[in-house]
């Protein structure tokens, strides 16, 4: 026993000894920024020459590198920027804030990143530069961050046009979408056709599909970490875009001096404004109807000193559909007058806010304290009033029906980055979220009835702590090991979960990196969806006494290599198991409020496995990527499909995406994207038979419905999906800014992609047939952007 104790102390002291220094060491630390805008560069590389000891900048652009006392040559680099090399004599801790210049002529300057794909211990992760996102063709010219992520291997799009993400066989509820560290619950506008993220306000987007570092938790399938821009600290700048369906404007700049800056970005669609007079004219002004969405991003940050920074960020977005109908009528004799009006509305939206405070305790210890609020609200209502005025007075009748649902979160967290030496990058932290769930309440009022029904509101507390170390064991072996511990308190019950996470990278010959990872995840909230296409009616609900949290375990192995410093190639295989997934019972839906949602769901398991290939060219005149996914995904519920496994709706055997941007000249750029996916799984009947309805007791008449029989759930496939998008942009330097005109075409060869299928009767052949409905034909778009 004593020996074991001694051994432990010995091991621990060896560990800490390796963390601390033998020779005299000093730390170089600071922030990496874009020289022109002052915007931080996330994931920039800082390394020494010639021994390539290095680190990368974190989400706030901060880096810290501890080196022995010596003369040292340090390189600061970031893809798309001209690297800066600095030679210093390190005899004390040093602060170096570096500004990198964006390289216009990427193809002429070989810009390399030493911390490239084969260096990272992290796998299953892709960072897409916002500049690249803005260049790819977009539906109706509206640049969409989530739609670009759908073009990556392992990520699927669900239905046509939708911005829902299905990552490695998971559902859209299993993505932790973070905007400046705050979870966003419903990331869609216009029933999912557009996402809420306005690319003009975004600095960086990172997607993690597996091998999750311990700092992330709370969702099973992915982390989408979106960082908003901080605002130009050098000069006042603006961007305005006029598009087919929406316009947007972004303003940013310093306030007083470089220490304070702001960014405000707003977007609104205007179909309703254009259509309103037409609708009014068409029905003599009695009906008005419309739809719009808007969103607003704002960020303010202030640097108190090199050690303390404060950030406020906010987002507000709402979708609203409405119709008003008014009519009146008097009978010819003038005895009676009737009036009727009806109002229908549907709206949903997110509001989030965050305050973040960065504090540097020492050059090696960086901290960030965050307090956040996130709210998602959905409401549909209809109200009608009618009145009849006659000789005997006026009688009125009215009814109102409203359905509300939503989720509110208050959260706080503190995260630390401790970088004791180039071989260790330690992160640890704690966080807590107070959830308030409102999973659907229907209120109904009429002359006869005034009632409120639905699920009960619920409060829950979620908490987590983590520690992870990105640890270079030897030059060839790098390891990220960590533990995420989380819990959820609801209904007087507390669920706990210990989630070990590990990913490692081993360099073999020819610069090929072999990678492997293992991650357990827990998710304490569920999304109830009965459309399967991601509608705002989907309800967020907590785990409860009856419904347990979701869990997943994912294994992945892979290999990665950078070729000629321009191409990044990787291959990964993964296997993922998911437990306690929920799904509505057959036929149950959100509007049936007679029962609590817990009585309307089935609980089951899911499984997904596959192989993903990814080849990306980041530099040169031609940039882009090719992604291919071969995968299998299924679900198993005891009370669905007689307990047998069935394919997930978005089980997609083959999924291919090819994107490219080609710079024809300094002024003209071409972009294209082609996607292919195996058709979605669908349930179709294979037989039909005569039903019976003897409720009428055969006294009067008997009605015999035809009943369809389904052999199994999702047993059939829709036709394959494929589509080509194309765009061309002209950029021109004007006296007072840069203008960019983009023409785009969505679904260039007008392929009729399946959206849903139905059985119908063909009168010509007098036979039944399956009919496929398509949504998006060829759609041209135009947008005009002006940077000033």
């Amino acid at each position: 026993m004593k020996q074991t104790g001694l051994l432990s102390i010995l091991l621990l002291s060896t560990f800490f000894y390796s963390l601390t220094s033998r020779a005299q060491k000093h730390t170089v630390s600071g922030y990496i920024k874009d020289k022109n805008t002052g915007e931080v560069l996330i994931g920039a590389n800082i390394y020494t020459k010639p021994d390539l000891v290095g680190t990368t900048s974190n989400t706030f652009g901060f880096y810290s590198l501890t080196l022995p006392e010596d003369s040292v040559q340090i390189v600061f680099s970031f893809v798309g920027y001209v690297p800066v090399t600095s030679t210093i004599f390190l005899d004390r801790d040093l602060e170096m804030n570096i500004g990198l210049s964006s390289s216009i002529e990427l193809d002429e300057i070989v810009v390399t990143a030493e911390e490239d794909i084969q260096q990272q211990s992290q796998m299953s992760s892709i960072t897409v530069p916002v500049k690249q996102i803005q260049k790819l063709p977009a539906l109706m010219g509206e640049v969409d961050v989530l739609k670009v992520l759908q073009l990556l291997p392992g990520v699927q799009s669900g239905s046509e046009g939708s911005s829902g993400l299905y990552v490695r066989g998971g559902g859209p509820d299993q993505n932790l979408i973070l905007l400046d560290g705050v979870p966003v619950y419903n990331a869609s506008h216009l029933f999912g056709f557009f996402s809420v993220f306005n690319a003009d306000a975004i600095n960086n987007v990172e997607l993690i599909k597996g091998g999750f570092p311990a700092r992330y938790g709370g969702r099973l399938s992915s982390v989408i970490d979106i960082s908003m821009k901080e605002g130009n600290t050098k000069e006042f700048k603006g961007t305005a875009t006029i598009g087919l369906i929406a316009s947007k404007i972004t303003l940013e700049g310093p306030i007083k001096n470089e220490n304070t800056s702001f960014l405000v970005s707003a977007r609104r669609t205007y179909i309703d404004l254009l259509a309103r007079p037409i609708i009014k004219a068409a029905n003599d002004g009695e009906v008005t109807a419309g739809y719009y969405f808007y969103d607003l991003n704002a960020k303010l940050n202030h640097k108190f000193s090199n050690k303390d920074r404060l950030f406020f960020s906010g987002f507000l977005g709402e979708d609203k559909a409405y119709s008003k109908d008014k009519s009146s009528y008097s009978d010819p004799y003038g005895d009676y007058h009737y009036a009727y009006d009806d109002e229908f509305g549907l709206k949903w939206g997110n509001m989030i806010g965050a305050i973040r405070w960065n504090h540097l305790f020492t050059p090696k210890l960086f901290s960030n304290v965050t307090a956040t609020y996130s709210r998602y609200k959905f409401k549909v209502f209809e109200e009608s009033n009618s009145s009849t005025t006659g000789p005997s007075g006026t009688t009125t009748d009215n009814y109102a029906i409203a359905y509300n649902s939503g989720i509110n979160d208050w959260a706080a967290k503190i995260d630390f980055d401790f970088i004791p030496s180039p071989n260790h990058y330690i992160r640890f932290g704690v966080n807590g979220i107070q959830h308030h769930f409102n999973p659907g309440v229907l209120s109904y009022r009429s002359a006869e009835l005034d009632t409120v029904a639905g699920s009960f509101e619920k409060d829950a507390f979620e908490f987590a702590s983590y520690i992870e170390d990105d640890f270079k064991v030897i030059d060839a072996l790098k390891l990220n090991a960590g533990l995420h511990f989380s819990g959820f308190n609801v209904d007087g019950k507390t669920y706990y979960s210990f989630q070990p996470r590990v990913s490692l990278r081993y360099l073999i010959r020819n610069g090929i990196a072999l990678k492997a990872s293992y991650a357990q995840m827990a998710q304490y909230i569920h999304l109830l969806t009965n459309s399967g296409i991601g509608l705002p009616t989907d309800l967020w609900v907590p785990s409860t006494n009856k419904i347990e949290p979701q869990f997943s375990t994912q294994y992945a192995i892979g290999a990665a290599k950078t070729l000629n410093k321009t191409y990044e190639v990787s291959i990964e295989g993964y296997y993922k198991e998911m437990k306690n997934l929920i799904e509505y019972k057959d036929g149950a839906s959100f509007t049936s409020v007679n029962k609590d949602w817990q009585d309307k769901v089935e609980v089951g398991n899911g499984r997904s496995y596959g192989v993903e290939l990814f080849a990306q060219k980041k530099l040169g005149k031609l940039t882009g990527w090719v992604g291919y996914t071969l995968s299998w995904t299924d679900r198993q519920f005891d009370n669905i499909n007689f307990g047998k496994r069935f394919p997930y709706r978005y089980d997609r055997r083959h999924d291919i995406s090819i994107t490219s941007v080609y710079k024809l000249s300094d002024h003209v750029e071409l972009a294209g994207a082609w996607v292919f996916g195996t058709g979605n799984a669908v349930s179709l009947p294979n037989e039909t038979y005569m039903g019976t309805d003897e409720s009428l007791n055969n006294y009067y008449y008997s009605y015999q419905p035809a009943i369809d029989y389904y052999d199994g759930r999702n047993g059939f496939r829709m036709k394959n999906y494929h589509r080509l998008d194309f765009s061309i942009s002209w950029t021109k330097q004007k006296k007072n800014g840069i203008r960019r005109l983009t023409l785009g075409v969505y679904n260039v060869y007008n392929h009729k992609n399946p959206f849903f299928m139905e059985l119908s009767y063909d009168y010509q052949t007098q036979k039944n047939k399956f009919v496929q409905y398509s949504l998006m034909p060829i759609i041209p778009s135009i947008s005009y952007r002006f940077d000033f």
Binding site: A321, N530, S531, L684, E687, T692, E694, D708, F716, M757
Partner: protein
């Protein structure tokens, strides 16, 4: 909901429809047994065959079958054949709390069978009362709103399944409006199941508002429960009523679980059939080696007026 889907399709510039070939395997047709037994009627079943989904001829009855009925495992009767797939017993009515098995065989089909227990109890009604409100309909006539309160006692020891219908009977009047004042020319006796609502949010929107309400006792097992049925009728314009005052009869049924499951899944299947995004609902069947339903109930009639 309809409006919601219209709005979803709002951004669609051009909807597009394509006929697609889907390889759906064609199975040999199976026997379909449809029967609802009750102690007041002779045993009767209907036999038809299932049809391949892409065919669309009229459903075919099976006429050459042999249908046997077993009571608690003992052969009770062999049913006689009538037209249109009907098979019936000439003298036997099922008894309460007895188990019935039906075995159907016909050449070209796999034998099919089904089993049901006739419910033991009738509904125990403690009281029935009516609240009425008469309102001017704005035309010089009146609308009568009725709330029929049915207080019932549930049996705690078993899972009960209930069905409630409301039978309205009245004379319907026709006038000759050419004369002044109009003269009554004809009256027709009408006996019909009324469409009614229930004043309790427990009942699903697809289940209320029809002519039959089907529910189980999960909310009030072993307790008394008051079902509030909302009904209304117009009396017509001043001096010229559409109809005589109706008389109402409540049809209260204790049903088998199969009745409850079948009716619910049939209405759910048709309810979700409009929504191409919802998973379709499989209709409950208790027929082995075939399709259809064998269900049962006891009816209690209750005059309301």
């Amino acid at each position: 909901m309809k409006k919601l889907f219209i709005l979803i399709l709002l951004p669609v510039l051009i909807g597009c429809e394509t006929v697609v070939e889907i390889d759906v395997p064609r199975n040999r047709p199976s026997l379909v047994i449809n029967s609802t037994l009750n102690p007041d009627s002779l045993i009767h079943i209907n036999l038809s065959e299932s049809r391949y989904i892409l065919d669309n001829y009229d459903f075919r009855y099976v006429e050459n079958a042999s249908v046997s009925v077993y009571e608690d495992g003992v052969l009770l009767d062999t049913l006689s054949h009538g037209a249109e797939g009907n098979y019936f017993s000439s003298s036997i009515k099922p008894k309460r709390n007895k188990d019935y098995q039906i075995l159907a065989s016909a050449s070209g089909f796999v034998d099919a069978s089904a089993e049901v227990l006739i419910p033991k109890d009738s509904i125990t009604v403690l009281s029935v009362s009516i609240d009425s409100v008469v309102q001017n309909n704005g035309f010089g006539g009146y609308i009568t709103y009725q709330r029929i309160n049915v207080e019932m006692q549930d049996n705690a020891s078993i899972n009960n399944f209930y069905s409630v219908s409301l039978l309205g009977e009245y004379y319907y009047y026709q006038y000759n409006y050419d004369t002044n004042p109009p003269t009554l020319v004809d009256s027709t006796f009408v006996s019909t199941l009324e469409y009614f609502n229930v004043d309790d949010p427990y009942f699903e929107d697809y289940n209320s508002g029809g002519t039959e309400l089907i529910f189980n006792d999960e909310l009030f097992n072993g307790k008394t429960y008051t079902l509030r049925i909302l009904n209304s009728y117009y009396e017509g314009d001043d001096g010229f009523p559409y109809s005589s005052n109706p008389t109402y009869t409540l049809l209260l049924r204790n049903t088998s679980e199969s009745y409850y499951l079948y009716k619910n899944t049939v209405s759910l299947q048709s309810w979700t059939s409009d929504n191409p995004f919802a998973q379709p609902v499989q209709v409950y069947t208790n027929v082995t080696n075939g399709y259809g339903i064998l269900s049962a109930y006891n009816t209690t009639f209750y005059k309301v007026n």
